[in-house]
């Protein structure tokens, strides 16, 4: 294992344990950092210890004790942390620590952007500079955001724990939402793909730590299924490629198999939730040999199981249209046009697509133009422009 790999694997655990021992987030991070620096010096000389994680945690813990001694802060605190030295080996492997850290980072009393940043810093071990770059803010801004979040945790008394059972139903979705947001930040942007990788890594950890939470499995499966298609989503010039036109041979089939197996195991628990349903939809797409083989009636049914937000309703209309014919799809989309989706570029884009499938090219062209006026991403605009040219030339 390279040092980088050890760092990625152990950082979260070391920080999580040190927070538990010292109750001080800043100190925990600093001591973890010093422990990794010490390892970088000593391991090449003395060899990598049998249990790198335990070595790192012990080293970090000793740094914390030194610091507390130097600062002569709270004799009581020092006693507590030092008490750990009497253990033959510090409990570096309390499985709960990272889960505790995850729930605390994702506490709903913190702002969403703070939750995301804190998760990346303390659990995933990204540096403040890396996180700042990923969210396109100056490093000082990110640094302040992190400090403020840690202060709030400390001074507002946000408990460092996995919430008790009666709070889990509301708190678990908060954790899942942070991981999914992180994934989407990376997925929607070709430059920041490492965020998706981090999200998948954290979701794997969550599945391991909460084996009884089916939505964690659902979320991981959903991420893996999206990620498996990453390479085919855009052309070389950065233009969007629709699912229908993606080169399915270039999908990551090992990733799809892993996700589908995971999803099947998860669904067998009989407690479906929104992430599992979305993963099931993604699996319908990912396992269709060709676009024509797509099981649209099943997809439409699955969309029907989700909470009917306007965007979900639009997706459902598309699925029904693909199953029962574009004329029916068009009628459903038109019904949505008056609602909160007016002004949403995917609404005219969807209408345009159904017009195109019906061979009503001039109507398709004007709907494509309408969609283009409502912007969207560069990749989407490139796609819409190509389509507009196509239908203007008579399909």
């Amino acid at each position: 294992m390279t040092f980088e790999e050890v760092y990625r694997q152990e950082w979260g655990q070391v920080v999580a344990t040190l927070i538990r021992l010292t109750g001080d987030w800043e100190l925990a991070e600093e001591c973890a950092q010093e422990a990794f620096a010490a390892a970088l010096q000593r391991w090449p000389r003395d060899g990598v210890p049998d249990k790198p994680g335990a070595w790192l945690t012990t080293t970090a813990r000793n740094r914390a004790i030194d610091w507390l001694r130097r600062e002569a802060v709270g004799a009581q605190k020092l006693k507590e942390v030092a008490a750990m030295t009497s253990e033959s080996e510090p409990q570096y492997d309390v499985p709960d620590d990272r889960l505790r850290l995850m729930f605390t980072c994702c506490h709903p009393a913190l702002a969403m952007e703070a939750r995301v940043a804190l998760t990346l810093r303390t659990l995933a071990g990204l540096s403040t500079a890396e996180i700042a770059r990923a969210f396109l803010v100056p490093e000082t801004t990110m640094s302040k955001r992190l400090t403020r979040a840690k202060q709030k945790i400390q001074y507002a008394g946000i408990p460092y724990r996995v919430p008790p059972a009666h709070l889990l139903p509301e708190r678990t979705p908060a954790v899942l939402a942070v991981l999914y947001l992180l994934f989407n930040e990376g997925y929607s942007d070709v430059v920041r793909t490492n965020l998706s990788g981090e999200a998948i890594r954290l979701a794997r950890l969550l599945v391991q730590l909460m084996p009884d939470e089916p939505e964690a499995g659902g979320l991981l499966a959903l991420m893996l299924l999206h990620d498996a298609r990453r390479a085919t989503r855009l052309t070389a010039d950065g233009v969007l490629v629709t699912l229908e036109e993606q080169d399915r041979t270039r999908w990551d089939h090992a990733g799809i198999t892993e996700a589908v197996d995971l999803l099947e195991t998860t669904l067998r628990r009989g407690a479906p939730g929104p992430y599992q349903v979305q993963a099931a939809i993604a699996a319908c797409h990912a396992t269709a040999r060709t676009a024509e083989d797509t099981d649209w009636p099943q997809i439409a049914g699955l969309y029907g199981q989700l909470k009917q937000t306007p965007v979900i309703a639009l997706n459902r209309a598309v699925a029904i249209g693909m199953a029962d014919g574009p004329a029916i799809g068009l009628r459903l989309v038109d019904e949505l046009a008056a609602g909160p989706l007016s002004g949403y570029h995917l609404l005219p884009a969807t209408r345009a697509d159904f017009f195109r499938r019906l061979g009503r090219f001039s109507e398709a062209a004007s709907a494509y133009r309408e969609a283009l006026e409502l912007a969207g991403t560069e990749a989407e605009r490139g796609y819409l422009q190509n389509r507009l040219r196509e239908v203007s030339a008579g399909g």
Binding site: G74, A109, Q154, Y155, A156, G157, I158, P159
Partner: protein
């Protein structure tokens, strides 16, 4: 930990009472003090600038939601404070702000 719950809502609910909340919280022993307030129209705001006393008739800011009462609680952590605040009847029509009380240095 000590928290101040600042209970805000428009004045129309001022006399609605607490629907058993106070009794439950007294029983749990988390309440350290508190009171309901007369309407903000009867408030006087005080500032001293350059040794000059300045008085204003009315609250800090004229907003629709005004502090109608406050409770000082002492409980385990923010999760418990949130639970206590969420149970207060004013949470259903107004807003409750939870503020940790500044502890003297050395205690935290």
């Amino acid at each position: 930990m000590k928290y101040l719950l600042m209970i805000c809502g428009d004045e129309s609910h001022a006399n609605d009472g607490c629907g058993g909340w106070s009794e439950e919280m007294e029983r749990r022993g988390v309440v350290e003090g508190g009171a309901g307030l007369r309407p903000p129209g009867e408030a006087t705001t005080v500032r001293v600038r350059d040794d000059e006393l300045m008085l204003t008739d009315g609250p800090f800011a004229e907003t629709k939601e005004q502090i109608g009462g406050f409770v000082l609680i002492n409980c385990a952590d923010l999760d418990e404070a949130i639970e206590i605040a969420a149970k207060h009847p004013a949470a259903a029509y107004g807003t409750i702000e939870i503020r940790p009380v500044l502890e003297p240095p050395g205690v935290v």
